[in-house]
């Protein structure tokens, strides 16, 4: 990594943008800047000083040491790293979206509100739900919205003191238990069976009076469709518990099955996964939440969707205007200040508009097709196994295990990952789900070409060959990346940990 830190660049007195001086007439009228002395900043912030060209060069060079879908396959399991169509980039970046103030008069943003209104409707149809709310900024944020809705459900029904537990499969994303906890629930884990489904016996023994709800993704993180899903829904509903759908894996069934039809009450969607919005190196995302129109309190006319947090875009028949409606009296409230993360939502809008139902279904088919193609090619490759769900087809992803390699010769999933980097691939998600040892969780999505899948398989085979002939070599990987293997232990060591340049300087000065 040859690019210096930005603090090491530039020169005294330089600037990257010319901020104009206040006009003479303004200065004359206003006089001096009057800041209460105890609040006046008395030294400039310690920012670097660079000209515009230096800033452009620096970040251009940094970008070249990053890797996205634009650079090659990024088959991160459960992350659904699709191609991000540039048509959506163009539209989402239009000044007629980016330059709108969230509080400006609704009559002046009718085009945008119409798009969002339509998106709400389309997502409801895609998920088989009744109402969608675009508010949450990410999948986990959507989960929080969902479990808060579950909480409100039991509150409105006066049973929250009793309904204290959320059940979550052991194969779940880490955000599920974390979200449940943020909503004040206790988390109860249910194990997976060998066929990849939830262990129904275990579930039956867990679900009871204190069960507030269950969070599950379907297909699971193993890429397997939960075959008992309707039974699970029935079981939960029998105990007046709600069923929450983690939409991270929607790309495996879209157009073939809908959470609403499976019996789910609430579902979140990752626009930045299933609907082609870019991940941006970790965000912004958008995690709309879709809800069944279930009656909660008949007398007061409260429905489940009334309980969800956030804003709704509604159409006012009287005025013919779209409007933004804030959370009502039964709502869980707000999860962020404004309507939602508009940019990714518009990407999603453009994606769905472009694909139509036919295209979305094709996307699912090809995501599934390519996954099973990959799985087939990886059958019986030395060093790897494909645990759970033997004989079953996968949906959007498949989890390999490098356990044989790890146990036999000490070459781990991480080593395999590094070996993939050297071949110009991003590595799979590793060590997840937790129920698979030395997991390599692979999701190509419909954006990947069969020939890249084949090359990926070839590389996995090559890694295995190299590993078995020289088990120490994989420990020297990666070699072709901008830096060699990173010292993560040092990065976290109390004596070395350096989360900012400020800390770096303080360490150099012996102040820490």
């Amino acid at each position: 990594n040859r690019e210096p830190l930005i603090f090491e660049l530039g020169g005294k007195g330089r600037t990257g943008i010319a901020i104009p001086e206040p006009e003479e007439e303004v200065k004359r009228r206003v006089g001096r800047v009057e800041i209460p002395s105890e609040m006046r900043r008395d030294r400039e912030p310690g920012l670097p000083e660079l000209s515009e060209v230096e800033v452009v060069r620096h970040f251009t060079n940094l970008s070249q040491a990053a890797f996205g879908v634009d650079n090659g396959p990024v088959p991160l399991g459960s992350c659904t790293m699709k191609y991000n169509p540039r048509i959506a980039w163009e539209i989402a970046g239009d000044p007629r979206i980016t330059n709108l103030h969230p509080l400006q008069d609704e009559r002046t943003v009718q085009g945008l509100l119409e798009m969002l209104f339509e998106l709400q409707k389309w997502l409801a149809n895609i998920t088989g739900m009744d109402t969608c709310i675009l508010h949450p900024a990410a999948g986990a944020h959507g989960e929080l919205a969902g479990v808060l809705t579950i909480r409100r459900y039991h509150e409105v029904k006066g049973q929250i003191d009793r309904k204290t537990e959320i059940v979550i499969p052991d194969s779940a994303h880490g955000t599920n238990p974390a979200s449940a906890a943020m909503a004040g629930f206790r988390v109860v884990e249910v194990p997976s069976a060998e066929d990849g489904n939830v262990d129904m016996e275990a579930l039956k023994s867990i679900v009871g009076d204190s069960t507030a709800g269950l969070m599950i993704t379907n297909p699971s993180t193993l890429g397997l469709f939960e075959e008992h899903i309707t039974d699970i829904a029935r079981l939960l509903h029998e105990h007046d518990a709600l069923l929450y759908y983690d939409g991270a894996n929607l790309n495996g069934i879209m157009g073939y099955a809908r959470p609403g039809d499976m019996g789910f009450d609430i579902a979140h969607i990752n626009i930045h996964k299933t609907f082609g919005a870019p991940h941006g190196g970790g965000g912004p995302g958008a995690g709309p939440v879709c809800i069944k129109d279930r009656v909660v309190d008949k007398e007061k006319g409260v429905r489940l969707s009334d309980l969800a947090p956030g804003y709704r875009v509604i159409y006012d028949e009287d005025t013919g205007l779209y409007r933004v409606k804030g959370p009502g009296e039964h709502s869980a409230g707000l999860l962020k200040a404004f309507l939602g993360n508009i940019t990714p939502l518009i990407w999603g809008y453009v994606y769905i508009l472009s694909m139509g139902p036919q295209g979305l279904r094709k996307a699912t088919e090809h995501a599934v097709l390519i996954t099973n193609y990959f799985m087939k090619l990886m059958e019986n490759v030395k060093g790897y196994t494909i645990p759970y769900g033997k004989g079953r087809f996968r949906k959007h992803e498949v989890v390999l295990s490098a356990q044989p390699m790890a146990e036999e010769i000490g070459v781990t999933a991480e080593d395999v990952a590094k070996g993939l980097l050297d071949a110009g691939f991003y590595a799979p998600t590793i060590y997840f789900p937790l129920i698979v040892k030395e997991a390599l969780m692979v999701e190509f999505t419909e954006s990947e070409t069969p020939e890249n899948v084949e090359k990926y398989v070839e590389r996995l085979k090559e890694i295995s060959r190299i590993a078995y002939s020289n088990p120490s070599e994989p420990k020297t990987w990666p070699r072709n990346t901008s830096v060699g293997r990173v010292d993560v232990v040092k990065a976290n060591h109390p004596k070395h940990v350096t989360p900012t340049w400020r800390i770096h300087v303080k360490r150099l000065r012996g102040e820490i």
Partner: protein
């Protein structure tokens, strides 16, 4: 209508590819791969295709552009931009920022879980953390939260963890009311309480005496926003922090970062946690999102261990040959700690953090002060011009870029004035009577570097005319 025999976004959607893959898999058709879906929930192609999803058919880019263009034409970009803030400000976004975050290597990357192939992204995020730390004079900044509001909420939850057993947090009455609502949403399920600190009705500032009486041993944290929702520069921030600390409560400050060009940073005012929104640092207003939640703490492991969000650290390669970046303190996060994590946050606003890093790099050491001064001058010019036409500020406290203007004394409804302004192509300030009914007909006007003298003069003339028109009715 476009064919679906092949599709630009699905490379394997060709006769040849499908045939080959099906053969290798050993099935006769794609539908066999879905046979484990119980038939009662399996959707037929026809019923799916009939659903109202998009226009019910695939569209070409050309059709999409045409259709969307019509919709975009119904959004109005005001020029000058709305004289409106309330937590979101129409600032200038340099094209360099837009250019850099459009580069596919950043745009289409995932969270940098594989460090070696993501060094450029990690360095950019590290530089965001570092430059933001300099603005705030705080030691540690995470790689972002969703927005200012959720940053306060997470800060509150964090304070309750750090000060375990305490059950109360104090929020000022002059903080952004939308932020307040978000904090409520996050805090209530934990069975925790919020108390409101009153503000001085004349000055608009937090009532420091009230804080003294309210903070006690059950108080986990005290929050102050500066400039506050009324644009007033709270002048007793440090004192309030000291009161909080005396009782063992954490001190959380929220800032509009542009103001830090003139105002003391949280680090100098004793903040344990500093939050704010990076929207004003190189992001569009985006109709409210994506924005950028700033979250910073002092370097105190008691705080760090409870901090939410991703953090990139500087380290070296294992062989020590090169500097390198890695995620640090991951054990706090949900993918490791699950229900015991410090937050459920996973996807954050990384690309916005990069944007803001580019912006801060462009500004440099003196740019922020220059920007803050310009904004200050423009707002004060506007305030002065407003008083020329009989419009007065509601509070006497010194303000930065934003101030509530009273229409009470001139006897008009603000909504009527707003209407007239709109007719003349101007979007005025934010009516805040709904948040503060006691203030009456009051609108919060905000100014930035994008409001030129000419634009302000036009606003004043138009306001004058609008008021006359309203009165004339």
């Amino acid at each position: 209508m476009i064919e679906t025999k092949s599709h630009p976004w699905i490379p394997s959607l060709t006769e040849e590819s499908v045939k080959k893959m099906l053969e290798v898999i050993g099935v006769g058709s794609v539908s066999e791969l879905f046979k484990d879906i119980p038939s009662e929930i399996l959707l037929g192609e026809d019923s799916w295709n009939k659903l109202e999803i998009g226009l019910g058919r695939p569209l070409s880019e050309i059709e999409v552009k045409e259709l969307v263009e019509e919709k975009l034409s119904r959004n109005k970009v005001f020029n000058p931009p709305p004289f409106m803030g309330g937590g979101v400000y129409p600032h200038y976004v340099p094209p360099v920022v837009r250019y850099i975050i459009s580069r596919g290597e950043f745009l289409t990357a995932y969270t940098p879980y594989q460090a070696e192939i993501s060094q450029g992204l990690m360095q950019a995020l590290f530089e965001y953390q570092s430059m933001m730390a300099e603005l705030l004079e705080m030691d540690i900044v995470n790689a972002s939260m969703y927005d200012w509001a959720s940053s306060i909420a997470e800060a509150a939850l964090m304070a309750f963890r750090v000060r375990k057993g305490r059950r109360k947090i104090l929020l000022p009455g002059n903080m952004n009311p939308l932020h307040r609502r978000v904090v409520e949403t996050y805090v209530k399920p934990q069975g925790l309480m919020i108390e409101t600190i009153p503000f001085d009705r004349e000055l608009g500032t937090v009532d420091a005496e009230a804080v003294k009486s309210m903070v006690d041993g059950d108080t986990a944290a005290v929050y102050v926003q500066y400039p506050n929702f009324f644009g007033i520069i709270e002048d007793n921030v440090k004192a309030i922090g000291e009161i909080a600390h005396e009782k063992g409560a954490l001190f959380i400050t929220g800032v509009y970062p542009v103001a830090l060009g003139l105002l003391k940073p949280p680090g100098e005012l004793g903040a344990d946690i500093a939050v704010g929104d990076g929207q004003s640092l190189g992001l569009g207003m985006n109709y409210g999102g994506p924005h950028l939640g700033i979250f910073a703490v002092r370097y105190d492991m008691n705080l760090v261990r409870q901090m939410p969000g991703r953090i990139i650290g500087l380290t070296t390669t294992i062989d020590g040959s090169s500097k390198a970046f890695a995620m640090v303190w991951q054990a706090r996060e949900q993918h490791i700690r699950r229900e015991k994590a410090t937050s459920n946050i996973c996807t954050n606003e990384a690309l916005m953090a990069v944007a803001s890093a580019v912006y801060m790099a462009l500004l440099g050491k003196t740019g922020l002060r220059r920007l803050a001064e310009l904004v200050y001058y423009r707002a004060h010019y506007a305030s002065s011009r407003m008083s020329d036409i009989g419009l007065t500020r509601v509070f006497k406290g010194e303000f930065f870029n934003e101030f509530p203007v009273s229409f009470n004394n001139i006897g008009v409804k603000y909504s009527a004035v707003h209407e007239k302004l709109l007719e003349h192509g101007i979007h005025g300030g934010l009516y805040i009577g709904s948040y503060y009914p006691e203030l009456g007909e009051v609108a919060l006007y905000a100014f930035t570097e994008l409001h030129s003298v000419k634009a302000i003069d036009r606003l004043i003339e138009t306001l004058k005319k609008a008021i006359e028109e309203v009165r004339g009715r």
